[in-house]
């Protein structure tokens, strides 16, 4: 069974006679040292020496792929685009959020030049979007909401109450009855919870 114990980078694990170094380790002067800070994993190799390795995270990081539907939260808006934090990929939550951008022309499929970002998203909205590109050097994924099923799912009004969707472009606050403009997602009825 693999023994997992916390190890620091540079810590001496064992001598190269006892085990050989795997990933996350290096060998110097006849000893095996850790090159990462993480958990020690010892695999009993049948032929030859067992292999020790240091892994940082037990599971590999899940990355958004082109065409994947992601759930994100709008952090700031601009007249040209909206910046979002990607929270979920499909239905799996992410440990560390990625950053994404929804450009003004990718918000809707029709009438792209009449779109106003202020009337589609606001900071704090939860949005379903699709990844269209892995992004540029600043590692900003490019997202799009140009489909009926994509767009704002949860939004709060100025009063702080969660708003109810009325149509594909409007939401209403149940307490103050004020209407706000959003690009609303048409969620399938089986996913709605009342």
């Amino acid at each position: 069974p693999p023994v997992s114990a916390a190890r620091l980078a540079g810590e001496r694990l064992c001598s190269s006679g006892e085990a050989s170094g795997g990933s996350g380790t290096y060998t110097r002067h006849g000893f095996v040292y850790a090159s990462l800070a993480g958990c020690l994993r010892r695999s009993g190799a049948e032929s030859g020496l067992p292999v020790v390795s240091v892994v940082r995270d037990a599971e590999a990081q899940l990355l958004p792929d082109v065409g994947a539907v992601v759930t994100c939260k709008v952090c700031s808006i601009n007249s040209r685009f909206a910046k979002v934090h990607i929270l979920y990929i499909g239905s799996t939550p992410l440990k560390s959020t990625f950053r994404g951008t929804i450009r003004r022309e990718d918000i809707r499929a029709t009438e792209k030049d009449k779109v106003e970002v202020y009337k589609s998203f606001r900071p704090g909205d939860i949005v379903l979007a699709k990844v269209i590109s892995l992004g540029d050097a600043q590692s900003n994924y490019l997202l799009s909401t140009a489909e009926n099923e994509l767009g704002v799912v949860v939004a709060r009004s100025e009063a702080g109450v969660q708003m109810v969707p009325i149509s594909w472009c409007e939401m209403q606050c149940p307490r103050t009855h004020t209407k706000d403009f959003r690009k609303v997602a048409r969620v399938q009825p089986q996913f709605l919870q009342t």
Binding site: S76, I77, N78, S79, V117, Y118, R122, P123
Partner: protein, 168 residues
Amino acid sequence: QYVPVKGDHVIGIVTAKTGDLFKVDVGGSELASLSYLAFEGATKRNRPNVQVGDLIYGQFLVANKDMEPELVCIDSSGRASGMGVIGQDGFLFKVSLGLIRKLLAPKCEIIEELSQLYPFELVLGMNGRIWVKAKTVQQTLIIVNILEACEYMTAEQRKQALAKVSGN
């Protein structure tokens, strides 16, 4: 502290010129942006003559708590209607937002009494900024002092002050 409101006419100071956008200080928490195409008769070839440090009289196209405010010097029909770069000379000073609203009321007594005194040009910005220009520097400064003092003077005190000035 002034909070930008859509449709308000304000006096701004140009602080930076980046490519096709000007950054304008309007006395709020953020700098407003002003596109070089937002002037009457401006095209990509025909750029307006705006330098850093110029005074601009414009209105807010976009002003909400989520986005950076945007100024334009053009109204909805494309005409300038008094907006644009404010000319050379003159004097810019700040007063309270309440005094501006009082001065902008129709048939404001203060403005009528001052216009009996000397002819002058006056621009009022809803962000608390006033620009005055009269024929001489001395006249300009007199008008500035009276407008600043109007904050706390009563009507009689103001009439006395004007009488004293016009008597001199």
